[in-house]
Amino acid sequence: MIRARRLGKRYGERRVFADVDLDLDRGGLLLVTGPNGSGKTTLLRVLAGLAAPSAGELQLPPREAIGYLGHEPLVYRELTPLENLSLFGRLYRIPERGERIGMLLERFGLWEVRHERVATFSRGMQQRLGLCRVLLHDPGLLLLDEPANALDSHGLELLGDVLADRGRAVAVATHDPRSVEPLATERLAFA
C-alpha cells in the first residue's frame, strides 16, 4: 500500500523529517511515535497525499483507498451525523450507503443521536463520528492521527477493534503508544 524511500519534508529551512523508509501492506500496522512537534502529523499528511514530500520517493494507493483522521474528527459541526456521513458517502460514491451508514452509526453507538447536530456532542462522540467517516468507504489504508483523543473506555475498545482488523494497512501517530503498541507490526520513532 505504501512504499517510501528516503522520504523527507521541510518547510523552508526547517527540516521536519528526513530519510524515512517505509513498507506498509495490508495487515500491517505502523506505529509512529514521538513528542509534540516531532513531525508525526506531517508524515501522516504526506502519506495521505495532503502534503507533497520535499525529498525521496513515495508510492501511495489512490485517494479513494485512503481514510484519514486528523487531529480534528473532520466532520461538520452544524450537520447531524447522518447528514455528514451522507455527504461523504455521496462524494465517495458508496453503493447502498444508507445501509452502510446505519451499520457504522450502530457500531459506534451514534444511531440514537443520528438526527442531532454534531455541535451538541462531546469531543469523544465527535471522535467516534470521525472514525465512522474514515471507515465509511472501507479504505485499504487508514491513517489515524492521535485516534484515541477524548475516547472513553468503550470508544477505545471500538478503536481497538478497528486497529485489530488485518484486512487493511494502518498507520497510527501518537505520543502515547501504550494501547497501540501490542498491535504494531512496524515502528517509527521521531525524536
Binding site: 499528511r45 495521505a48 497525499g49 495532503l50 502534503a51 507533497a52 489512490p62 485517494r63 479513494e64 485512503i66 484519514y68 486528523g70 487531529h71 480534528e72 473532520l74 466532520v75 461538520y76 459541526r77 452544524e78 450537520l79 447528514e83 455527504l87 461523504f88 455521496r90 462524494l91 465517495y92 460514491r93 447536530r117 467517516r133
Partner: protein, 212 residues
C-alpha cells in the same frame, strides 16, 4: 452527471450550514442596508443618479466580501478542507459547490439591496439588474478561489480583501458602466470577465488546495 451530483451535494451542504448557523446572510443583509442608509445621509440630496449607482456598486462589493470571508469558515475551523480534498471527486467540484452557495447568498442580499436602493435613491432598471447578476458570477467564482487561498494563510482576514478588491475593480467598472447606460459593451465586458476568470478559477482550485 457525477460531477453535477457532487457539486449539488456540496452546495446543498453549504446552504444547510447557513440555514442552521444563520451567520452569513443576516450579516450581509444588515450590512448592505446599513451601508445604503449611510450613503443616503452622507451624499447631498439630489445627487446625480450615476453617482448614486456608484455607491450601490460599492455597497454590493463590500457586502460580497462579507460572504466570501465566511465562505470557508467551517472548513478552516474544523480542518475539513482535508476531508473534502481527499474525497475521490474532482476537486473543482468543491470550488463550484461553494461558488453556487456564495451566489445564492449574494442574490438573497441583492433582493433586499436593490429595493432599498430604490427607496433611498432611485429605481434600478433591467440593465442594472442584469449587470448585478453578471457581477455576481464574477464575484462568486474569483472570490471563492481567493477565499480558499486565504484559508491557508496566517493573516487570512487581511489577505482576502487585499486579494479580492483589486480583482473586483473590473467588476465595478463594468457594473457602473452598464447600469449607467453607457452601452452594451460593459455588459459584454462583464460576460468576458466571468468567462475568463471563471475558467481560470475552475482550473486553479486544484493547485490552491494542494499543499506544497
Amino acid at each position: 452527471m457525477r460531477y453535477a451530483s457532487d457539486v449539488g451535494a456540496l452546495a446543498r451542504k453549504d446552504l444547510l450550514l447557513e440555514l442552521r448557523a444563520k451567520e452569513t446572510l443576516p450579516a450581509m443583509l444588515v450590512f448592505v442596508v446599513a451601508a445604503l442608509t449611510v450613503f443616503h445621509f452622507a451624499v447631498p440630496h439630489g445627487t446625480r443618479h450615476v453617482a448614486a449607482l456608484g455607491l450601490l456598486w460599492v455597497a454590493l462589493v463590500f457586502t460580497a466580501l462579507l460572504a466570501l470571508t465566511r465562505a470557508f469558515v467551517a472548513e478552516r475551523e474544523q480542518g475539513l478542507l482535508d476531508a473534502l480534498v481527499l474525497a475521490p471527486c474532482d476537486r473543482s467540484a468543491i470550488w463550484l459547490g461553494k461558488t453556487l452557495a456564495v451566489l445564492a447568498f449574494l442574490v438573497a442580499a441583492e433582493v433586499v439591496a436593490l429595493p432599498a436602493f430604490a427607496v433611498f435613491f432611485s429605481g434600478v432598471d433591467g440593465r442594472t439588474v442584469l449587470a448585478v447578476a453578471l457581477a455576481d458570477v464574477g464575484i462568486g467564482t474569483v472570490g471563492t478561489l481567493l477565499g480558499a487561498m486565504a484559508v491557508a494563510g496566517r493573516a487570512r482576514e487581511l489577505l482576502l480583501p487585499l486579494l479580492f478588491l483589486p480583482l473586483a475593480v473590473p467588476i465595478v467598472v463594468g457594473g457602473v458602466g452598464a447600469s449607467a447606460g453607457a452601452g452594451a459593451r460593459y455588459l459584454l465586458f462583464l460576460v468576458l470577465y466571468d468567462a475568463v476568470f471563471g475558467l481560470l478559477s475552475w482550473a486553479a482550485f486544484e493547485y490552491v488546495v494542494a499543499e506544497a
